[in-house]
C-alpha cells in the first residue's frame, strides 16, 4: 500500500510540470498540448470507440504471435536443456539469430509476408522467441543435480525425472521467460505498426503525427504504457497463483 502511494508521487509531479509548462505557453500547443486538452482527446477517443478498436487489434496480434512463440520456444527449450546432442545441432544457428534484432529484418519480413497480419505475427514471434527459449533452456539445464539424485535414489525413470523433477523445477524460470516474452511482444508490435500498418495502436500514433495531432500521440503513448503494465501485472498475479512456492518472478527487468 505504501509503495503504491510512493509510486504515485513522481507521475503527479510530472503532470504538474506539464501543466505549468503548457500554462506558460513555452511551447506552442501544436507541439505540447495541455493535460486538459489531452484528457479531453482521450475521452473522445474512448467514447468514439477508436482507442478500443486499435487496442483490441494490437492485443489480438500480440496474443497470436506470443502463442506461436510459446508453442515453438517452450518445447525447443526443454529439448535443448534435456539433450546435449540436440542442443549441439541447434545452438550455432540460434546463437546467430539471437543477435539479429527483429526490427532489422522488418524490410525483408514485409517483402515476404506483406503488410497484413502475417508480418506482424512473424515480428512478434521473432521478438518473443528468445527470452522464452533461453529461460526455459537454462531452467531445465540448471536443475539442481541434487534433486535429480533424489529421483535416482527412488529409481525414477528418465521420463519421470524430466516430468516430476526437471520440469517443475524449471517452472519459475519459464514464468520469467513468459513474462519477458510478453513485454518484448508488445514493444515489437508497436514498432511494427509504426512502420507498416493500417490499424493498431502504433498506426494510430503514426496517423496522428501525420495529421499534426500530438494530443492523440500522447493518448497513444499512455495507452501503450498502461496496457503493457496491466499485462505484466496480470501475468504476475497469475504466476503467483499457479506457482505459490515461487520467489523468482516479480522483480526481473531486462530490456
Amino acid at each position: 500500500m505504501r509503495t503504491w502511494k510512493n509510486g504515485i508521487l513522481l507521475p503527479f509531479l510530472l503532470v504538474l510540470l506539464w501543466y505549468i509548462i503548457s500554462k506558460l505557453q513555452i511551447f506552442s500547443s501544436y507541439l505540447l498540448p495541455s493535460p486538459a486538452a489531452t484528457a479531453i482527446t482521450a475521452g473522445e477517443l474512448i467514447r468514439s470507440g477508436m482507442l478500443w478498436q486499435h487496442l483490441l487489434i494490437s492485443l489480438q496480434r500480440v496474443a497470436g504471435g506470443f502463442l506461436c512463440s510459446v508453442v515453438v520456444a517452450l518445447p525447443l527449450g526443454i529439448l535443448c536443456g534435456r539433450s546435449n546432442s540436440f542442443q549441439s545441432y541447434c545452438w550455432p544457428i540460434l546463437e546467430f539469430l539471437r543477435h539479429v534484432p527483429p526490427l532489422a529484418a522488418i524490410p525483408l519480413i514485409i517483402l515476404w509476408f506483406g503488410i497484413d497480419e502475417g508480418s506482424k505475427l512473424v515480428i512478434i514471434f521473432l521478438a518473443s522467441f528468445f527470452p522464452l527459449f533461453l529461460n526455459t533452456y537454462s531452467g531445465i539445464k540448471g536443475c539442481d543435480r541434487k534433486l535429480l539424485e533424489v529421483g535416482r535414489s527412488l529409481h525414477f525413470t528418465a521420463w519421470q525425472q524430466a516430468r516430476l523433477i526437471q520440469l517443475p523445477a524449471a517452472l519459475p524460470a519459464i514464468a520469467v521467460g513468459l513474462q519477458l516474452s510478453l513485454g518484448y511482444s508488445w514493444r515489437a508490435l508497436i514498432g511494427a505498426e509504426l512502420i507498416a500498418a493500417s490499424s493498431g495502436i502504433g498506426y494510430m500514433i503514426l496517423d496522428a503525427e501525420q495529421m499534426s495531432r500530438p494530443d492523440i500521440v500522447l493518448v497513444g503513448l499512455f495507452a501503450i504504457g498502461i496496457v503493457g503494465s496491466l499485462i505484466d501485472w496480470l501475468f504476475l498475479a497469475l504466476t503467483n497463483k499457479i506457482l505459490p512456492w515461487n520467489t523468482e518472478t516479480g522483480d526481473k527487468y531486462a530490456a
Binding site: S153, L154, A169, W245
Partner: protein, 235 residues
C-alpha cells in the same frame, strides 16, 4: 544376512591422478542392525554409502542385496522439492511405486512432528523440520534398509539431539536396519550397535557397541570408547 559386499572397490581419476576411494572392502550387515561409519573426510565413507544405494557404480567387487530389497537414502541436505508441500514431498516415492498410498498417514506425520505443517512448502520450514520431512520421505517408502549420509550434521545441537532420539525410537519400534555415516564420534556412539572406522578406503576398525539405549554420554565406558575410536581415526 541383510547385505553382503565382497572386494568392493571404487577408483576415480581426477586430473590424471588415480584416486582409490574404496579399496577391496568386505563387509556383512545383519538384519535389524544399526551401523555407524566414521572417519575423516575423504576416507571413503560417503562413497561406500553411494555404492550401496546404487547412485554410483562400483569399479569392481560385488554387492549382494540379500534381504535389503528396498533401500532408502537420506542425504546430508533435505533436498526437498520446493514446489511440493510437506505431504507431497513425503509421498514422492508413490509416483514410482503403486503399492504406496498417495499421501502419508497421520501416524507418520505425528511421529515426525509435522502434522501442523503438512500443507506448508519447504521454504516455510526450519532446518530441522525440513530434515524431518526428508526422513519422512524415506520412511514412507517402507525400506528394509535406510542409508543416511551425515543427515544431522547441518542442524543445531538441540534439533540434532531430538532427531537422534526420534531415529532411535524408530529403529527400536519398526525393526529397520540403518547404515549411518557421520564424522561425529559422539553421534556414532549414541546411535550405533556397531561402529566402523574407515581410513584411506579401508575398514580400519569394526567395533561392536553393546551399551543399552538410551546411552549415557557421561558414563565412563562411553568416554573410553570415544577416546579409543578418536585415536583410531587420528592415527
Amino acid at each position: 544376512m541383510l547385505l553382503n559386499i565382497t572386494a568392493l572397490t571404487k577408483t576415480y581419476t581426477i586430473s590424471g591422478k588415480l584416486i582409490i576411494a574404496l579399496n577391496t572392502v568386505d563387509l556383512t550387515f545383519s538384519e535389524n542392525s544399526f551401523t555407524c561409519i566414521v572417519g575423516k573426510s575423504g576416507c571413503g565413507k560417503t562413497t561406500l554409502l553411494r555404492l550401496l544405494s546404487g547412485l554410483e557404480p562400483a569399479t569392481s567387487g560385488t554387492i549382494d542385496y540379500g534381504k535389503a530389497a528396498k533401500i532408502g537414502f537420506v542425504f546430508q541436505e533435505p533436498r526437498l522439492m520446493p514446489w511440493l508441500t510437506v505431504n507431497a514431498n513425503i509421498a514422492f516415492a508413490a509416483k514410482n511405486d503403486p503399492s504406496l498410498p498417495a499421501a502419508p498417514d497421520e501416524k507418520l506425520l505425528e511421529l515426525l512432528g509435522l502434522k501442523a505443517f503438512q500443507h506448508s512448502f519447504p521454504a516455510q520450514l526450519s532446518g530441522g523440520m525440513a530434515q524431518r520431512t526428508a526422513l519422512g520421505r524415506t520412511l514412507f517408502q517402507n525400506p528394509d534398509l535406510i542409508l543416511m549420509d551425515e543427515p544431522f550434521s547441518a542442524l543445531d545441537y538441540f534439533t540434532r539431539r531430538s532427531l537422534q532420539q526420534m531415529l532411535l525410537n524408530l529403529f527400536q519400534q519398526q525393526k529397520k536396519s540403518v547404515i549411518f555415516v557421520t564424522h561425529d564420534v559422539e553421534e556414532a556412539l549414541l546411535l550405533g550397535q556397531r561402529i566402523l572406522v574407515m581410513q584411506e578406503g579401508r575398514i580400519k576398525i569394526d567395533q561392536r557397541i553393546d551399551m543399552e539405549y538410551p546411552r549415557q554420554q557421561a558414563s565412563l565406558s562411553f568416554q573410553q570408547l570415544r577416546l579409543q575410536i578418536l585415536s583410531a581415526i587420528e592415527n
